[in-house]
């Protein structure tokens, strides 16, 4: 929890995204004890399609972060920073 609070302070965008998805999907995450024969492909396909927007948001965030970090590197002229 402390780690999550720290993420909220220092990385608010992905942390807020996580929280939103967690809240929206809370009923889905609660563990159950049901064991049954499963068709594993359908659930996997549905998740990929439904989560595409979320995955795109995360990807955009990472690309933006890399782009901003690149700007700082250019300004300081330090390839390692």
């Amino acid at each position: 929890m402390i780690r999550f609070i720290r993420r909220m302070v220092f990385h608010p965008v992905p942390a807020a995204g996580t929280l939103l998805v967690a809240l929206a999907a809370f009923h889905m995450v609660a563990p159950t004890r049901a064991w049954a024969y499963l068709d594993p492909i359908t659930g996997s396909i549905v998740l990929q399609v439904l989560a595409a927007g979320f995955v795109a948001a995360i990807a955009t965030f990472h690309r933006t972060r890399v782009w901003i970090a690149g700007l700082f590197r250019k300004r300081t002229g330090d390839p390692k920073s």
């Binding site: 992905p14 996580t18 990929q48």
Partner: protein, 469 residues
């Protein structure tokens, strides 16, 4: 090219190659071939025509092959026959350390990204399709690609998560010994099991939440149902699929397990030798190995691979086996950083070596069934098997004799501090654990060729040759 098949010729279809209707693997006269079935011919042609095969082979991500004209065991469904380059040793994901599994996961995702860039897709993501060659992971199943159709989600997404992501997260977030879990199942760690085993805080990580927890829930929720029409209509764009794969790659690449804190992780400083005696042991082992001149060495109880490197220096391919996950991890990282190509580290508990697994116990061979060593190194090992594991010396000799014809083995007497450490909290019931008892047990299976004292350590190294029986 044509491979002559003059009788008598022996044909054996691989017992691990029956699930995929695209083709199968077989051996003819000891040579491994892969048949491409007619139903897969279009995709196999696209693999070459798209340029994907050339790129993947050039990058060392896919095993190279050549087309051959050889008699097929099932000619009625054959389209093409190929001979893949041989892999020096077939190992399984539950025998890999964290770093090996992570690198195998990364190469699987890179294969998928390359495939998408060439208009194809990786249709399965089984960890058993990855093997190590020249120190690096590569795909051995050439029939794993098919032509990509726009809008189609990744059918191997669940398999990737169960074969790679789940065990990696369990090792990283919970305990390294959970890396053994895939040995209990035929097809990776079920996502529902992984979801229950991962700590609650893992739900606060976006990647763990999505790829494991929500994924497990979605699999259960839609189990036994067809894909809903609205999901079929929406589909998944190629860009979205690439985002998914890149997101997985980002998650896997960030995982870094600290290989410390286990019993043998600090072996280099705890092996109980004075520096000059340790140097003498290295010299003796190198000399014995040069005398044998093996092509393949199995170094059992290798720790971080000091003696594996001595064996490697003689030109041999070395299987470097240890039971401690941190020691194997450190060995592997050293192999990667040094660019070593002839040592394969393996995480195996020799008191409980990998059994035959999968359908009919024959899909995945036991460790013993894969034995092909010319020489076996068993240094500072026997006291652990005999005293910690209560394995009789005769039984140890019987098993080692199955692995290869030459044996270099160290005997550590009961008075040695390392043996005393093993006896400190237990009754000494090991009356037969004496030098005489050791020699008598091994002379049932071997002829002794050399017996050398290691400096002032009180330890002895033997060189044995297996008896013809």
């Amino acid at each position: 090219m044509t491979v002559p098949s003059s009788p008598p010729s022996s044909v054996e279809v691989s017992s691990a190659s029956f699930r995929d209707p695209s083709g199968f693997v077989f051996r003819r006269d000891g040579v491994l071939y892969r048949q491409v079935n007619r139903r897969y011919a279009e995709h196999f042609a696209a693999l070459h025509a798209s340029g994907l095969y050339d790129v993947l082979v050039a990058e060392g991500m896919l095993v190279a092959h050549e087309r051959v004209d050889v008699e097929s065991p099932r000619p009625e469904i054959a389209a093409v026959l190929i001979r893949p380059e041989p892999i020096p040793f077939i190992s399984y994901p539950y025998e890999w350390c964290f770093g090996q599994l992570r690198d195998a996961a990364l190469v699987t995702l890179d294969l998928q990204l390359q495939a998408l860039a060439h208009g194809m897709v990786l249709k399965d993501a089984s960890a058993f399709n990855i093997q190590f060659k020249a120190g690096r992971p590569l795909l051995i199943d050439t029939l794993s690609f098919e032509v990509y159709r726009e809008g189609e989600p990744w059918s191997a997404y669940r398999q990737f998560c169960e074969h790679f992501l789940a065990p990696l997260l369990l090792i990283h977030d919970v305990d390294p010994w959970l890396g053994r879990l895939p040995a209990l199942t035929a097809d990776g760690i079920p996502l529902e099991v992984a979801s229950r085993l991962l700590p609650w805080r893992s739900r606060l990580s976006a990647s763990r939440l999505l790829h494991v927890h929500l994924h497990a829930r979605s699999v259960r929720r839609y189990g036994g149902r067809a894909v809903p029409k609205r999901i079929q209509r929406r589909g998944l764009s190629q860009k979205a699929l690439i985002n998914l794969v890149q997101g997985l790659r980002h998650t896997v690449a960030r995982l870094d397990w600290k290989a410390v804190g286990t019993e043998w992780a600090d072996y280099e400083t705890q092996h109980g030798y004075e520096p000059e005696d340790y140097a003498e042991k290295q010299r003796l082992v190198a000399e014995m190995l040069r005398t044998i001149g093996p092509a393949i060495v199995w170094d059992l109880g290798a720790n971080m691979g000091d003696f594996s490197r001595i064996a490697r220096a003689t030109g041999a391919f070395v299987l470097s086996v240890d039971m401690d996950p941190a020691a194997v991890e450190q060995n592997y990282r050293r192999i990667v950083s040094e660019g070593e190509t002839g040592i394969h580290p393996l995480w195996v508990d020799l008191q409980n070596p990998s059994p035959g697994l999968g359908w009919a116990n024959s899909e995945r061979d036991s460790l013993t069934a894969r034995a092909d060593a010319d020489a076996v190194l068993a240094l500072a090992l026997v006291h652990h098997l005999a005293i910690t594991g209560n394995v009789p010396l005769t039984s140890i000799a019987d098993w080692l004799a199955q692995l290869g014809p030459s044996l270099i083995i160290e005997f550590v007497a009961k008075g040695d501090p390392q043996v005393q450490r093993l006896l400190v909290s237990r009754e000494d019931v090991f009356d037969e654990y004496t030098r005489e008892g050791f020699e008598a047990a091994f002379e049932r299976r071997y002829q002794m060729l050399e017996c050398r004292q290691i400096g002032e350590s009180g330890r002895t190294i033997y060189r044995y040759e297996r008896l013809q029986q």
